[in-house]
């Protein structure tokens, strides 16, 4: 069981700056994120898109913003738990007990949800029958590529994941690659490689087709694909892989007894606290009258939520407001020399 003053859910810009604010005022914190990297939407959705409305930064990309926020956290050794989703939150006296998908457990008086629009999950096939085979012979990610050796694998999608795996698995498996249109959105060199392998007969390429049926008793045996002209093909297959990118879902957060408004969490504007004492929500995931979904608003919300955490983490101390320019205590925490 990990004990911490505050647990932050979400390693996007708001979560990162909230961690900074907690450390500045002398609280410790840890961060959990379902993605495999730090940065949230900025890294997952628009690493290369320029952002123009971060105060004092005329222009930066999502990736640059993330790098700078991480750099700002350098003086503090913050523990990140990536690839983990917070699944359970329950009250235990004055603390919250938190459990992640990997089984990591925390006890903390404060939880700050900086979850953006929820956690990123793979987008799935619309076809209901696919659920029967999910995690048995139908997957949305590859954990162990060896299971595909000498088998027939049908890969759906047109981005880098689909193309990379088609190329990789074609070495030891029979690969069908199916995509809903002729153009692929992967890196040019991979697209060329796929076409080359298709010409050599090492990848069976089906474009303008989409999955329309799956069948098999216990394991998958056949799949059916249909194109826009309603032409149907049946393919024998042992496995299906679907790569349609990630979607954002509120996920388990919906079960924690918080007041929700559509996909957002209602908070007050003093502490950014939810209807549950000690659980705060900041950034895109919170809502209140006048809420603006801007990164800069998330920074402000995180700064105030961090101060609110102090009260529950240090019930016998009084929080004293200090400036980073003049406070010796803060400079010590930052590891910089005082004047």
């Amino acid at each position: 069981m990990i004990k911490t003053d505050a647990l932050i859910i979400g390693a996007g810009p708001t979560g990162l700056f909230t961690a900074h604010q907690l450390k500045i005022i002398g609280l410790d914190c840890q961060i959990v994120d379902n993605l495999d990297k730090i940065g949230g939407q900025c890294i997952e959705l628009y690493p290369d898109k320029p952002i123009y409305d971060i105060p004092a930064i005329p222009e930066c990309t999502g990736e640059e913003l993330t790098k700078n926020l991480i750099k700002q956290l350098d003086p503090f050794k913050i523990k990140f738990h990536l690839n983990e989703r917070v699944d359970e939150v329950r009250k235990d006296n004055n603390n919250w007990e938190v459990k992640t998908s990997n089984g990591t457990k925390f006890t903390t008086p404060n939880i700050i949800i900086a979850g953006g629009v929820g956690s990123f999950e793979p987008r799935k096939f619309p076809l209901k029958e696919c659920e029967n085979f999910e995690n048995k012979s139908l997957f949305y990610s590859v954990k162990d590529k060896k299971i595909f050796d000498k088998k027939t694998v049908s890969i759906f999608g047109g981005g880098d994941s689909a193309l990379d795996w088609a190329v990789e698995l074609s070495k030891n498996s029979k690969v069908n690659l199916i995509h809903r249109r002729d153009e692929f959105r992967g890196a040019n060199v991979t697209v060329d490689k796929v076409h080359e392998l298709a010409n050599l007969g090492q990848i069976n390429l089906f474009t303008k087709y989409q999955l329309s049926g799956v069948s098999g008793s216990n394991n998958l045996e056949n799949l059916e694909i249909t194109n826009d002209n309603k032409e149907v093909k049946t393919l024998k297959t042992d496995y299906i892989l679907g790569f349609f990118g990630l979607i954002m879902q509120l996920g388990p957060i919906a079960n924690w007894g918080l007041n929700l408004n559509k996909k957002t969490i209602e908070v007050d504007t003093e502490k950014f606290e939810t209807n549950q004492k000690g659980i705060y929500a900041v950034g895109d995931i919170c809502t209140y009258p006048g809420k603006l979904k801007l990164i800069l608003s998330g920074f402000h919300e995180g700064a105030l939520a961090a101060r609110a955490c102090f009260k529950l983490a240090r019930p016998n101390e009084k929080y004293r407001f200090e400036f980073t320019t003049s406070s010796k205590t803060i400079k010590d925490r930052l590891g910089v020399k005082s004047d």
């Binding site: 898109k49 629009v117 987008r123 981005g159």
Partner: protein, 106 residues
């Protein structure tokens, strides 16, 4: 200003006036029409404002934006007449546009 009709997957129709310059996505969000999530707020990064444009309208609209099809690849149940409603700008030209909403966005 253009009248736009959004038809939910269950057949329920909503016809609203949407100001020129807004997007078809914003028209839905501002009028609380269910079925368009628009998680990313119109930056063409999420494919949760996906709509099907009624056939005869599909060719009348401006061409898809660069990268729009890449995002539609990731939409739920994409079809030939799929568009992202955040990439359709409202003008007098599209008076009477009808869009169908998919069964769900995610």
């Amino acid at each position: 200003m253009a009248k736009i009709t959004y038809i939910e997957n269950n057949g329920k129709e909503h016809t609203v006036d949407v100001q020129n310059g807004l997007t078809v996505m914003e028209g839905a969000v501002q009028n609380d029409i269910p079925g368009i999530d628009a998680d990313c707020g119109g930056s063409m990064a999420c494919a949760t404002c996906h709509v099907y444009v009624k056939d005869d309208w599909y060719d009348k609209l401006d061409e898809k934006s660069e990268g729009e099809d890449d995002m539609i690849d990731q939409a739920y149940d994409p079809k030939k007449n799929s568009r992202l409603s955040c990439q359709i700008t409202v003008s007098d030209k599209i008076e009477g546009l009808i869009v169908h909403l998919p069964e769900k966005q995610v």
